[in-house]
Symmetry: C2
Subunit: 153 residues, 2 copies
């Protein structure tokens, strides 16, 4: 349902949020932490840079970092940056009399997409990192999380 690329983008942004205070994170480190093939992650990150979610710096001590605070980024922002949720505006079949009001079939499909948008927009990246009722986002345990953050300094 969500493409591989979209899932990679989400994971990359989450790991970047963990590294928020440690300066830019390199492609290789991110790839390991987010469990993404490094050479492909490079492409995904380029997309996030173009979309204005992530910032890149070349050269020694370079890497990638979030352009905004994790509190200000929702899952929907990330998803829409790499592959927008396809909301149905006009009739996909080009039926003229459906231009203003979709038929029940397309209306339902669009309703499903609207629900996806609603769920994704209701969670900021920051919230995903600090939910005490669940295991930590994308890492094995709260203990390992500390290691992860130490290592990058």
């Amino acid at each position: 349902m969500f493409s591989q690329t979209t899932q990679y983008a989400i994971r990359a942004v989450v790991i970047l949020a963990y590294h928020r205070d440690s300066g830019p994170a390199g492609n290789l480190l991110l790839a390991e932490k987010a469990k993404i093939p490094p050479s492909y992650l490079a492409k995904v990150l380029q997309g996030l840079v173009k979309s204005g979610i992530v910032e890149s710096r070349r050269g020694a001590k370079g890497g990638f970092s979030l352009l905004r605070d994790p509190e200000e980024i929702t899952l929907l922002d990330v998803v829409n940056a790499v592959e927008p949720i396809p909301r149905i505006k006009g009739c996909p079949l080009g039926l003229k009399s459906h231009a203003d009001m979709l038929c029940p079939v397309h209306a339902r499909i669009d309703e499903a997409m609207a629900q996806v948008e609603a769920v994704l927009s209701s969670a900021t990246i920051a919230e995903l990192l600090s939910d005490p009722k669940r295991p930590p986002a994308l890492v094995e345990s709260w203990g390992r999380l500390k290691e992860l953050q130490e290592r990058s300094r």
Copy 2:
């Protein structure tokens, strides 16, 4: 979000529902009405047959028909028949401590999938064909709908 194949399957089932009382509908007629490349529709229909949504009859006077009444088929049935909504059961990254309870990232994504299932399961094919507040499903006007149904007798 929904693959081309999935969208074709939905349209094919809807048109089949229109033809419910006219005996089996041939691949070519369906393709025209549902605006699907005929040679590819053949494949999609084979899938629906294997999944138990559609029944086929070979030879003269043959074609495809719904196995159940449109009242008994939901959009979710059709979608799941060709490409199931990917609910997240265990941790996709294989993190052991996330086996019982997903982390916030995967929990949100799964919540979005759950919402899609909810929307799709709340509409039967029959309901899609008889919504008086909207244009008729997949056809230009209620007038043209009559033509469509006459033609096939």
